[in-house]
């Protein structure tokens, strides 16, 4: 069986406690060591491997999806960093790129897809609709932001963001993933 990964990839802080998506607190390595878990170079190897091959889940909603497709095209090529394998089934994907407006009708599908993805998973919110509902925030049918539905790791502003910004967003996720100690840890939960 694969390694128990939730120790390696602690989850987010700032989520309500009983929240199913928030399986673990985001712990800094010092706290983990205080609980007797020592990080070895093996962890760095796994982070290095994952950083280089983040397979996005094919999940376009609105205009940002077209910019996401343009990112994989000839001019702005996302496959240089090994991200271009767009997996259709959530089982094989690592990153869920929420590109577009999440509406109330689409919300259960987004949650279901998130829960179907295997454990070390991340979410990138592309475009202002996914960040905070964007121009449609006061509409009766729109969920104001992807973080009301799934825990989001990287936000890419823009409506739609340029393909270079999307690639930079993926690289930010890679940096965040490979150096957990550098993350800004919000410690207001306790």
């Amino acid at each position: 069986m694969a390694l128990k990964t939730n120790i390696l990839f602690p989850r987010r802080v700032g989520m309500p406690e009983g929240d199913p998506a928030n399986t673990h607190d985001l712990l800094t390595p010092e706290e983990l060591e205080s609980r007797g878990i020592l990080f070895t170079s093996l962890d760095k190897l796994f982070r290095w491997g994952t950083g280089w091959s983040l397979w996005p889940l094919q999940f376009g909603l609105a205009c940002c999806a077209i910019e996401m497709i343009c990112t994989t095209q000839t001019r702005f090529d996302m496959s240089r960093f090994g991200f271009e394998v767009f997996r259709n089934s959530p089982r094989q994907a690592d990153v869920m790129l929420v590109a577009g407006t999440i509406t109330e009708k689409m919300r259960p599908s987004v949650e279901l897809l998130y829960h179907q993805m295997p454990e070390p998973k991340w979410v990138i919110a592309i475009g202002s609709c996914a960040i905070s509902g964007g121009p449609f925030v006061d509409s009766y049918a729109v969920v104001a932001g992807a973080d009301k539905v799934v825990p989001v790791d990287v936000y890419i502003p823009g409506c739609p963001p340029r393909p270079e910004a999307i690639i930079d967003g993926m690289l930010q996720l890679k940096a965040k993933l490979r150096h957990p100690e550098r993350q800004k840890v919000v410690r207001d939960v306790k």
């Binding site: 694969a2 990964t5 491997g49 090994g82 259709n88 089934s89 690592d94 070390p120």
Partner: protein
């Protein structure tokens, strides 16, 4: 030059001598060396399988990038060549999800079984002069029998993952793999009629004396390549894993290491098909200057690139057209080819 040519044969001889000396020193019966040697051969085949799979995954993504006018992975390692290692490490570490209503043992077993047929088939294929692990009298029949096994694990995966898309994918695998066995067998049969033997090494020697069989049997070569593409479920026949229709087809419910096994097994199947094509049609390890096994690697590399090139250019065929193409066009063609070969051989 002679030394380089059968460098591996000498290594095998050396290892055998070491085992004999070791067993003699330990006082065990000398018969054990053959057992140990087969273990060494098996390890060599696994290494070849995994290495070729790793190489061809990155080579496919770079070639696809070239076809699609984009650079392809070029950041990880020297010019992107270590990309597959990154993928492999990530896939090893991913969580293994087995759907609860799925048929658990079959779901887990299917991924392991996927790797077995290519291993078995590679045992009989001669990589170089005297470098076939199993130099069988009925080499071709053995390899054909084993490659039919390749479609079974994909069907198991389709059935076991309790998902409508996988079920459709699984059903498609069955009708495609079984029906493309027939033209593949007929194509190889006409080659055997010309070469006269089933033993793969002798076929290569036959081609060394006379000319390569691809010139004698061009039609059989083309039909074999087409049915090999269909056997390995590669585009334009990749119906079981048709992304645009069945999300991820048969592999929808597989994640992490299990999916990696299927992913690598596909490339090993392709390597077996390419190896068989070079041995039977392009004169296996025969070639003027370079050592035999290097010729084998070059020829399989060319055929694999053809597979990859075909995949990234042609759209996918519809399920019923795949079958009608096979039964209405390929099978009559190969039967005709066998008739013509028989008549010509009778006259000569």
């Amino acid at each position: 030059m002679e030394f380089i040519n059968n460098i591996f044969v000498n290594i095998a001889g050396l290892v055998r001598w070491v085992f004999n000396w070791l067993l003699g020193w330990l006082g065990l019966p000398l018969g054990l060396t053959d057992v140990l040697m087969t273990a060494v051969y098996w390890v060599a085949i696994v290494v070849v399988c995994v290495l070729c799979a790793l190489f061809y995954v990155i080579w496919e993504r770079k070639l696809a990038g070239y076809i699609q006018r984009r650079p392809g992975p070029n950041r990880l390692g020297p010019n992107g060549w270590l990309q597959t290692i990154g993928d492999a490490i990530k896939l090893v570490m991913k969580e293994d999800i087995v759907p609860d209503k799925a048929d658990k043992p079959v779901h887990l077993l299917a991924a392991l079984l996927a790797f077995v047929p290519p291993m078995l088939a590679l045992a009989a294929i001669p990589f170089g002069e005297g470098m076939a692990a199993l130099d069988l009298k009925l080499g071709v029949v053995y390899v054909l029998a084993v490659t039919t096994l390749a479609s079974l694990p994909v069907l198991l995966a389709g059935y076991a993952s309790n998902n409508k898309y996988s079920l459709i994918g699984g059903m498609r695998v069955v009708n495609q793999a079984i029906s493309y066995e027939v033209p593949q067998a007929f194509a190889l049969l006409s080659v055997i009629m010309v070469a006269g033997t089933f033993n793969l090494t002798e076929i290569v020697h036959f081609q060394q004396q006379h000319l390569w069989l691809v010139f004698v049997q061009p039609l059989a070569f083309v039909v074999y390549i087409i049915s090999a593409v269909a056997e390995c479920n590669r585009a334009p026949f990749d119906l079981p894993e048709g992304e645009s229709e069945l999300t991820a087809g048969v592999f929808t419910e597989y994640s992490g290491m299990r999916y990696a096994l299927f992913y690598l097994a596909e490339y090993c199947n392709m390597f077996v098909a390419a190896g068989l094509a070079t041995t039977l049609f392009l004169g296996g390890f025969s070639g003027p200057f370079l050592p035999g096994w290097l010729w084998f690697i070059l020829k399989t590399f060319v055929i694999m690139s053809v597979f990859i090139w075909v995949r990234w250019t042609l759209p996918r065929i519809r399920a019923d057209y795949v079958l009608s193409f096979c039964w209405k066009i390929l099978v009559p063609l190969t039967l005709l080819n066998m008739l013509v070969t028989g008549v010509v051989l009778y006259l000569i």
